[in-house]
């Protein structure tokens, strides 16, 4: 993507202008580093990823293993986040659950952004009847409260009694994914509407490019920045949605831990073992907060009108 920096005349960063041939990604990275909360968020996310990867692996963790001698122990040196009602170490369990929660967040984002980009670009590019049809459908999706539909779908899948449709993270990924693309669709449609009458699109049309090529090669890359930001925020939102569904008992089923079903497990005992409720929630808070700050930093860094 060519960086056409049109900085206001009074704010020209001469140092940046004089620097020879800085690539767009280098420019974005340099701007991103100036956003302190976003950098902190990135560091936190990397740390969380590493802990999720390494802790269960290094400790040879078995999620089904219980130990009745150490049930509901408060945080101590041996078990720094305490243990649960089956004597499982919550520190290890937290990072094991994080793997599933983050996997669900990322996979859901991919589905939602894919559908949203598809719907939004078709509606924005073709306009007219297609736009009307797709946007009315989007309105329709937005008119039923999402959580109600999610629960209904989860219940539907469960009542099939088919283990492929009711066990593991896959069904949750699919239902959250297909119900959370509306935001991305509206965003992408707006981008396509404003970009499709630009000169470079006219030029591409003149040179005989087909519609598909214009959409994919000419418009989409120019709409990439807000999509990337939205994708970052989507991961966090999906982690929260997963935790809510699992908390209500309709997400990933035990013994597979996720941050959501760890909290469901904690609800019954939180009055006398509050640590079971505090740490998984903190993990969600820190992860989503970090992702939101990264999204904020990316928004500034990717904005072509950004004033340094």
């Amino acid at each position: 993507m060519q960086a056409q920096l049109s900085l206001p005349a009074s704010n020209i960063d001469w140092q940046a202008r004089m620097r020879p041939q800085e690539s767009f990604s280098a420019l974005v990275w340099r701007r991103f580093l100036k956003h302190k909360p976003a950098v902190a968020g990135l560091v936190a996310i990397i740390a969380i990823f590493l802990l999720c990867l390494l802790v269960p692996w290094l400790t040879n963790y078995d999620p089904g293993k219980t130990n009745v001698d150490i049930i509901r122990q408060p945080p101590s040196l041996a078990h720094i986040f305490g243990t649960d009602e089956l004597g499982r170490d919550l520190f290890i369990r937290l990072w094991d659950g994080g793997r599933i929660s983050i996997l669900i967040g990322i996979a859901t984002m991919v589905i939602a952004i894919f559908i949203g980009t598809l719907v939004g670009s078709l509606a924005g590019f073709y306009g007219g009847r297609i736009d009307n049809l797709l946007m009315r459908f989007t309105d329709f999706m937005l008119s039923i409260p999402q959580l109600f539909l999610l629960l209904l779908f989860a219940q539907l899948l469960r009542s099939t009694n088919d283990p492929r449709l009711s066990a593991g993270p896959m069904p949750i990924i699919v239902i959250i994914g297909i119900l959370s693309w509306t935001g991305a669709a509206r965003l992408v449609r707006g981008q396509f509407l404003s970009l499709k009458n630009k000169e470079f699109v006219e030029a591409a049309k003149m040179s005989g490019a087909r519609n598909l090529r214009i959409m994919l090669r000419h418009i989409l890359p120019n709409a990439a920045s807000p999509i990337i930001v939205s994708a970052t925020l989507r991961v966090g939102a999906a982690i929260i949605t997963e935790s809510t569904l699992s908390f209500l008992g309709f997400g990933v089923q035990p013994p597979t831990p996720t941050w959501g079903n760890m909290l469901k497990n904690a609800q019954a005992q939180m009055t006398y073992a509050p640590w079971t409720a505090i740490f998984p929630g903190l993990a969600i808070l820190v992860t989503v907060l970090a992702l939101n700050y990264i999204g904020d930093g990316l928004r500034d860094a990717l904005d072509p009108h950004h004033v340094e």
Partner: protein, 325 residues
């Protein structure tokens, strides 16, 4: 304006029809169907089943069943609950008031808190207050509603005790003390935790949009003019800036109305609040009472469409620049 409003109202009708078709279709997908509960009952013979099927109008084509359902809704008949055998309309109406009570308190509470914070944050951009509130807003947007509820229960119900009675500072659930006569302070004590959860949940985005709206307006020429003619800051904000600065907030409120229903479902479930969201979850989903599910889905969709319409009208009132064609 009237024409615009009428046209928007007319547009809502096909939308609601589409929603009704979707809700009906979804319910058909649930395996077993409405008579599953009776099929395994040895006391109910095949003849009884056939009779039930006829009585419930299930022996006709799906599209006729749909037609009967929709026309019944228009007459105000939402069917009968499978679990309680009571009319769904009465079940829902008995709960709707409680949900609206909690939601309205939370909705206006959030506005009352976030509007001043947003204005102060914008007028003192990059002050410690602004930084603190922006951070709080970010945190509010980054945590699951239910977890915040659990933490409030741990702090204000389990840990902190009422210094006079020695009991919990706030009740951990319910709408009032069961069996006790009506008392305002009892109602308020039950309201405070669930309302706080819902308020905090929407505070984040409200503060951010109010701040952004005010920042945008403050750089306009007419604000400079107002300052130049010697008006005090307070007057400039109240008389000139406020009405325009609130437009982004109104837009986002319109988009967040469905979210209020989600929040109500979670909050009501955690705090055992006898509302519509809890009815949907504990009776509809958990006990497969699908007339309840259908009724609540239709009602909440209708409310969302109606509130969306109201937001549009408020928006048009606040911003006469938007076109009505």
């Amino acid at each position: 304006m009237t024409k615009y409003f009428l046209r928007r109202t007319l547009q809502a009708i096909p939308l609601l029809l589409l929603i009704s078709i979707a809700v009906f279709t979804l319910m058909q997908l649930i395996p077993g169907g409405p008579l599953t509960a009776y099929e395994n009952n040895p006391n109910i013979s095949a003849d009884d089943l056939a009779r039930l099927q006829e009585e419930l109008g299930l022996n006709v084509h799906k599209h006729i069943q749909y037609w009967n359902w929709v026309t019944a809704i228009l007459r105000g008949d939402l069917g009968t609950s499978i679990v309680t055998k009571l009319p769904v309309r009465d079940e829902i109406l008995g709960r709707l008031g409680n949900t609206l009570y909690l939601s309205f308190v939370a909705f206006f509470g959030a506005l009352l808190i976030s509007i001043p914070i947003g204005i102060i944050s914008a007028t003192r951009q990059y002050s410690w207050f602004d930084h603190l509130m922006t951070t709080v807003a970010f945190i509010g947007q980054s945590m699951p509603v239910f977890w915040f509820g659990l933490i409030l229960i741990i702090i204000f119900h389990t840990t902190i005790k009422n210094p006079f009675t020695g009991g919990p500072l706030f009740p951990g659930g319910g709408m009032f003390t069961i069996g006790a006569p009506f008392a305002l302070d009892d109602r308020l004590r039950h309201l405070i935790l669930p309302a706080s959860v819902l308020i905090f949940f929407s505070l984040g985005s409200h503060i951010r949009y109010m701040r952004a709206g005010m920042l945008d307006v403050m750089h306009q020429d007419y604000i400079r003019t107002a300052h130049a003619k010697g008006l005090r800051e307070r007057a400039v904000i109240a008389k000139h800036a406020f009405k325009n600065s609130i437009i982004p907030l109104v837009t986002i409120i319109g988009l967040e109305i469905p979210g209020l229903f989600n929040g109500a479902l979670i909050t009501e479930t955690i705090f055992s609040w006898p509302g519509m969201g809890r009815l949907f979850f504990t009776q509809g989903i958990e006990r497969s009472d699908y007339p309840i599910m259908m009724g609540i889905l239709m009602l909440s969709a209708t409310l969302i469409v109606v509130f969306g319409l109201v937001t549009d009208v408020v928006y048009a009132f606040l911003d006469p620049r938007i076109r009505f064609d």
